[in-house]
Symmetry: C2
Subunit: 429 residues, 2 copies
């Protein structure tokens, strides 16, 4: 008997279609049951989409989808804090149907109202996808760190702004130039206001504040500044002072209460957040007793956001009864590689030998490597100094472990090699 | 009516006493109920401890604590895969009592047996603290990414080894020297075998493999190498090749199955994991469609590990019925700072002005700053070039926002200032 969750999806943009693509091959995921899409809703039924929606019931009205008898869980991916998204989420919650949403504006602006409806009937309303795309920061703050006193939550929560700042600095071009390019490439919206004004990041930090500091979910209390005020000159001067400018969203417990703000700030170039470039997001959690944590990853985009929605759906699917190891022990049947398979995997290797400092030693060494089909990418010979031997380091091109081990065996048989050679794998990223 | 969880804690070492310290002031946490310690157990009752345990029932035998009627949830912090820890956890699970444990050896070696007992009666067995201390990686892999196809999980999962490698490279001392120091300072155990042999990291990656790839929890399938084979010469040669050596635990899906291994490898200095130095832990999750994620933080120690235990307890406390915002809306009563309070917070600022390139301009500028009690840490004047004005950047010492804004107002009133000055906050980390 398989546990099944019947979901209705409202909103078939990037995230909605990304979610459908993953669910159409869900046997590849580690879900402890079946997620069945029963109905979908969007503004335009006939628009070309990267996935087929033919087998799902179509609803013109997302409220009707939320209320439909076949919809057990309502997935809201429309966006917009007012209007249909809010109406449909309310409709689902009022019928005690769990809701999963990626809508940061909705949660930041109406989170308390919605939570009151949901909590009354103990109906889950999950919104991992609303903050920082696929980074599991909502679950981390709401659950993992709920027994931990948090000092501050600080992050780069808007990839568009971070991309603009990175690109300005790297290309030496003006804000307007870089923004126009980003819009052309689809990295920024046609109307970029929500992103560049700091509003989008403010929605996200309002949500994290409430979860992390038990302040009310009150978007009006977030102090907001955007990157639209930052000039190339600002970035350049900051650079000369060994700083970078980043749009930082921050919530911080002080003696007087919680400060919650989004603004461009200068960060020392060596600080962890200063090193987050391009469209990435990163969140730092500073705790009172348990140290500091950083979570980094793609903070937006179709698949990262769908990943967060899928995590929430997976939790609803298994609920309290999730198996200890995620799946039943009998279902853990993905095989391990055996030794033979592992030794055929390609990798680069470091081979280190202490070589007698005499003529021809190096030549005989490289000859032995060639015999085993191991080719050399780089070779480093340390000066022998006062001793009679010199360490030689060889970085190989990709080869199998078997070949590398064979090469080491040959090398060890050389007279000029004083101690058994060392073999260490090299990771390329 | 407050939800209460009565817990028994077996093991009163660093983690156990850290947990008790936090629970003794749990009003500071964001728990959705009350956690009551009813009983404790350890080897030695009278040993001096940083917290008082007088008000808790004492049990000589952890199994008796697990079975005691007053124990609703059993917290196992003894360590050791065999012996009392295993017996006590089994005893609790057989009575359908939820278990929270920090014991990586127990889960890696007997996880399937224990999961079978627990799953039969749908009893939670939670072990966030078993992997990477306070980093919420178990919950991330088990829940957040359970709807996401994972390509690899790769990380620095043993802080002791990472500390040894970092310290060898930075101080240019031998493995034996640095290890002896680390033992003296308490960074390494008297018997360092579990750490330096790679066994501890192997326990952790075995756990993450099972959760992330649905392979059996089979510790015997992990290929294990340690840092005890790494010499200073290896590190130095790697450095000359622009690489660092790190002990990397890795689980990777291949066409043939899952590779699971711990070994010292060379990483390019620019790779994210190469930049994790000292006792920190870091885990990278590479996904098939949703990009790559990195989680970083303290991977061991009393309070980080206790933080993970508290997260698990908090989940048990609220279960399915956790309020949407973590706490009931009416309980979200931590105040925000008001504007007046925020403007007294101390920070450094960047003040940027376009200054007319004429005699005395700079002097009048610094005079205005002094009037507002804003002192200058650094001042940078760009060459004016062909234009009549030059940008001047001033980095202030710590001052209140109010003072900085006052200073900008004065500066703007100067004749030599062409455009309103820009004020940007500077974060110091």
């Amino acid at each position: 008997m398989t546990n099944t969750l019947k979901i209705g999806i409202a909103g078939l943009g990037n995230v909605g279609t990304g979610l459908i693509a993953r669910l159409q091959e869900q046997e590849k995921l580690r879900l402890s049951g079946q997620i069945e899409i029963t109905g979908v809703s969007a503004r335009n039924r006939s628009r070309a989409r990267p996935v087929s929606i033919d087998e799902y019931s179509w609803y013109d009205d997302p409220v009707a989808l939320a209320e439909a008898e076949e919809t057990e869980v309502f997935v809201e991916l429309m966006g917009g804090s007012d209007g249909p998204a809010k109406l449909a989420v309310e409709a689902a919650l009022k019928l005690s149907k769990p809701v999963v949403t990626a809508n940061k504006a909705l949660i930041a602006e109406y989170g308390e109202t919605l939570a009151q409806i949901a909590d009354k009937s103990q109906t889950p309303l999950l919104f991992e996808a609303a903050v920082a795309g696929g980074i599991p920061i909502v679950r981390a703050v709401r659950e993992s760190f709920s027994g931990t006193q948090i000092r501050s939550i600080k992050g780069i929560l808007n990839g568009t702004c971070n991309y603009l700042l990175t690109e300005m600095m790297e290309s030496g071009r003006s804000y307007d130039d870089v923004l126009a390019d980003a819009q052309r490439l689809g990295y920024a919206e046609a109307d970029p206001f929500l992103d560049v004004s700091g509003t989008d990041a403010a929605h996200k930090i309002a949500i994290l504040s409430s979860l992390g500091f038990a302040v009310p979910m009150d978007f009006s209390r977030v102090k907001i500044g955007g990157v639209d005020t930052i000039s190339l000159k600002d970035l350049e001067l900051a650079g000369k002072l060994d700083h970078k400018i980043k749009l930082i969203a921050e919530a911080r417990q002080t003696q007087d209460g919680v400060i919650c703000r989004v603004e461009p700030v200068l960060l020392p170039k060596t600080s962890p957040l200063a090193q987050i470039d391009g469209p990435l997001n990163a969140v730092q959690i500073e705790t009172e007793h348990a140290g500091n944590y950083t979570l980094t990853g793609p903070g937006a985009g179709s698949h990262p956001t769908a990943s967060a929605v899928l995590g929430d759906l997976s939790v609803l699917l298994s609920g309290q009864n999730k198996a200890v190891l995620g799946m039943k022990v009998g279902d853990l049947n993905n095989p391990f590689c055996d030794q033979a398979q592992m030794s055929t995997a390609q990798s680069k290797y470091l081979i280190r030998v202490d070589l007698l400092d005499k003529a021809g030693a190096l030549a005989s060494l490289t000859e032995e490597l060639a015999k085993s089909d191991v080719s050399v990418e780089a070779l480093l010979q340390d000066s022998a100094g006062t001793s009679e031997s010199a360490p030689v380091a060889i970085m190989t091109h990709n080869c199998s472990l078997a070949a590398a081990e064979e090469a080491v065996k040959h090398v060890n048989s050389l007279e000029a090699v004083l101690h058994p050679a060392r073999l260490i794998r090299i990771e390329t990223n």
